[in-house]
């Protein structure tokens, strides 16, 4: 079935033109106007924008160990619904993805599901304990070809371990992705330290706990020459540090989550743990700073930090609730609302921050293209005019912990195509058996 051709007619591309796209054998086979193909399924797309399929550098798929909250399959479906064709599975599973065995298991589960390319991230330290290095080399040379390493969820706070990890991954041009959070400064922390935390009586998570780690890491990046990626940057001060590092020409990149582009700590009033996340929602001033940084390239990419949780982990007291929000299904709408509607990014900018730049940081082949002839057919069709209230109907993973429920958002993913396989059509996911069968067929063809 993956050999079936798809003709997308009259689509506006992210860089401004209008074209037809003929997809065949998993690649963009023809591009131009007035294309025809008798054997092709036709998608009339004259109100839609075509973008390279989104690439998420920060996804919690929870498998193995947390299948109650999400699996590779359910997370892949959430990703396809959000316009993603590739996700990077974070390593904080149980067992931790700190060996070749675990990352290959996650890779294989992603291939079997077929909705998106699932690229595992490896842990930096064994068991994410922050002490001994994980099997970094084995993961890099495994079938999963891991290039990004992160203890996300836990900060590598030991400076010596951090230095060693950065030096070690240089061996194969790896990247260290840091969850920047000084553990001592955030003991028991519940919410951004500011006027809201003071009033609500919630232990503060001060900006300096993120910024001091990023400052140290930038210095280590300069010392070691290794590639450093700052996960979920959330404060104006962090933005300033990254701006300075880039001005120096250091190999530093950074991501911001959709929620840090649009939500503030004011939402913690009412103590609804759907707004509890790590790093926490910050002030309006910080939101403004990360938006500006994403627009000017200081922050390279948007990454969802999609963090599904079981219902009982959120339907409780604030300080006992788990941190995290689901984000794959809502990312495009949030980015459009926060960045495009405000004039900070155009659609070429969206393609850059949601697809091209993350693929480049990861070194992911076949993703983050420009919809040019011969490229892999990984693409997303977006209806920018779709304004509606965001509801649980749009959540396709297991998690219901979205902070956007009941909010009016603009911009919807209509169709997603992963290596020529239609995973989402008119907002409806293709069924798992069909996608899995097509993915199997594609792998068999590639093997020939």
């Amino acid at each position: 079935m993956s050999a079936d051709a798809i003709l997308i007619r009259g689509v506006r591309t992210f860089d401004g033109g209008v074209t037809d796209l003929l997809l065949r054998d998993g690649v963009i086979a023809e591009r131009g106007t007035g294309l025809a193909a008798d054997d092709a399924a036709v998608i009339e797309a004259d109100s839609l924008i075509a973008l390279p399929g989104f690439v998420d550098l920060h996804t919690h798929l929870r498998e193995p160990g947390g299948e109650g909250a999400e699996t590779v399959l359910t997370g892949s479906r959430a990703a396809a619904a959000g316009g993603y064709t590739a996700v990077h599975a974070m390593a904080n599973t149980n067992p931790v993805a700190d060996t070749a065995g675990v990352v290959e298991q996650v890779l294989a589960a992603g291939e079997a599901a077929g909705y998106v390319t699932v690229q595992p991230i490896g842990a930096i330290t064994k068991g994410q304990a922050g002490e001994a290095l994980a099997d970094i080399g084995s993961m890099a040379t495994s079938r999963a070809k891991v290039r990004i390493f992160s203890d996300d969820g836990i900060c590598v706070s030991d400076s010596l371990v951090m230095r060693r990890a950065m030096e070690y991954v240089k061996t194969f041009d790896g990247v260290i992705a840091q969850h920047a959070q000084d553990p001592r400064l955030t003991l028991g922390a519940q919410l951004n330290e500011g006027p809201v935390s003071a009033e609500l009586g919630l232990a503060g998570w001060p900006a300096v706990a993120e910024e001091s780690i990023i400052a140290r890491d930038i210095m280590l990046a300069e010392l070691t020459g290794a590639r450093y990626h700052a996960c979920h940057v959330s404060t104006a001060g962090s933005v300033e540090l990254i701006r300075q590092a880039k001005a120096k020409g250091l190999p530093v990149t950074a991501e911001v989550t959709p929620h840090h582009l649009i939500l503030t700590d004011e939402l913690a009033r009412g103590y609804n743990p759907f707004f509890k996340v790590n790093p926490p929602l910050r002030s309006a001033k910080d939101v403004e700073a990360v938006r500006a940084a994403l627009a000017d390239g200081t922050i390279d990419i948007v990454a969802t930090d999609h963090a599904p949780h079981k219902a009982e982990m959120k339907c409780c007291e604030w300080d006992q609730a788990a941190m995290g929000m689901v984000g794959l299904e809502s990312a495009l709408a949030v980015v459009q609302t926060a960045m495009v509607e405000t004039g900070l990014l155009d659609w070429a900018g969206v393609a850059r921050v949601m697809s091209q730049a993350p693929a480049r940081i990861s070194g992911l082949v076949g993703h983050g293209g420009s919809l040019q002839l011969g490229e892999a057919a990984n693409l997303t069709l977006v209806d920018p005019a779709a304004e509606r209230e965001f509801t649980t109907d749009e959540l396709q993973g297991k998690g219901r912990n979205s902070p956007y429920l009941g909010r009016t958002v603009r911009g919807a993913v209509v169709t997603t195509i992963h290596h020529g396989i239609v995973t989402l059509r008119d907002g409806i996911l293709t069924d798992p058996d069909t996608v899995a069968a097509q993915a199997r067929q594609r792998r068999a063809q590639e093997a020939r």
């Binding site: 330290e193 500011g194 006027p195 009033e199 609500l200 009586g201 007291e317 300080d319 006992q320």
Partner: protein, 322 residues
């Protein structure tokens, strides 16, 4: 009034109405027969996730004086990992027909969650949530100040121009927060004093003057000095070096006590650490209101339970005690 969750959202009129209702309640407590039929047939649950014998007893006495049926539900150590969730407990209480729930919880916001999550329809009274608020404590403190300042002429009055100094661990104190909002609403001027480690950051916008030096703050001659309990374990978390140094800096010791005007009220929410944040001479002096606070606590809680559980509008309380 459906719930009492915080003092931040109380209007001046509502706050004075509660205090006036408590005056009426206090009057009934002078009678031979102290019990009122007001909440007969109603069930009030004391849902205590934290040990607090004095607050629980105060609410229990208050509810019983109003003829409510009282159930004490001690649920130490909540959370998903440790036992039944707040949601399931709330639904259980709802199924049992609780009309009012008095909740004490170590998590900030627990009372608001209980009141607003749709788990239970009962009136919710916050008896202290984490480091957020303790509204009935603030109300009884305000009641006590008003009574000392205005005596039998208290009804209808606020605390306009009264200067209150709150001393000690402001950071972790729900009493300090609730008092700040309530006293300010009633027209008082509030100041905090304590070591900088125990003053919350980012409170520039709060209606409060902050001092670090207790003697400097006392030199402004406050009308009320409210001492907060200091937890000895704070010193292990490096908030201050040791209890001796804390007492020297921020304790109401004999020297400081003797320098106070005799008209300055000394308050403490209890339980007191005698010899640490307050010396016995101060605690037992005529200007100390410590035991009045306890007595007034019952009247305040009777008023709050009456207004919430019976669902009376705060401005329609005149014939409570007829």
């Amino acid at each position: 009034m459906k719930h009492l969750l915080s003092t931040k959202d109380l209007s001046r009129e509502a706050a004075i109405a509660i205090l006036d209702t408590a005056e009426a309640m206090a009057d009934t407590q002078e009678r031979e027969v102290k019990k009122l039929p007001t909440l007969r047939g109603k069930t009030v649950v004391n849902l205590f996730y934290e040990d607090s014998t004095r607050t629980r007893i105060s609410f229990e006495v208050a509810a019983k004086r109003l003829s409510a049926d009282v159930i004490n539900f001690s649920a130490k150590g909540s959370s998903v990992s440790k036992g039944e969730s707040l949601e399931d407990t709330a639904k259980t209480l709802a199924a049992m027909g609780a009309d009012g729930v008095v909740i004490r919880h170590s998590s900030s916001g627990a009372a608001e969650r209980l009141a607003t999550s749709g788990w239970i329809d009962a009136a919710v009274v916050n008896a202290g949530d984490g480091t957020h608020e303790h509204p009935t404590q603030a109300l009884l403190d305000a009641f006590t100040m008003r009574k000392r300042l205005h005596g039998d002429a208290s009804r209808g009055k606020g605390l306009d121009g009264v200067r209150v100094l709150i001393v000690g661990d402001i950071l972790h104190s729900r009493v300090a927060r609730s008092n700040l909002w309530l006293l300010t609403t009633l027209g008082a001027e509030v100041a905090f004093v304590g070591p900088a480690t125990l003053i919350p950051s980012y409170i520039q916008d709060w209606p409060v003057t902050v001092y670090y030096d207790f003697d400097e703050a006392l030199a402004t001659h406050p009308d009320v000095v409210m001492m907060l309990r200091i937890q000895a374990e704070r010193m292990h978390a490096a908030y201050f070096p040791n209890t001796r140094e804390y007492g020297r800096g921020w304790g109401l010791g004999l020297d400081r006590f003797r320098r106070l005007s005799e008209r300055t009220l000394i308050m403490h929410p209890g339980p007191m650490n005698r010899g640490l944040e307050i010396c016995s001479e101060a605690a037992d002096s005529p200007q100390s209101t410590v035991t009045e606070q306890v007595a007034n606590g019952v009247a305040i809680r009777m008023a709050v339970l009456y207004l919430t559980v019976a669902g009376v509008a705060a401005d329609q309380t005149s014939e409570v005690t007829a």
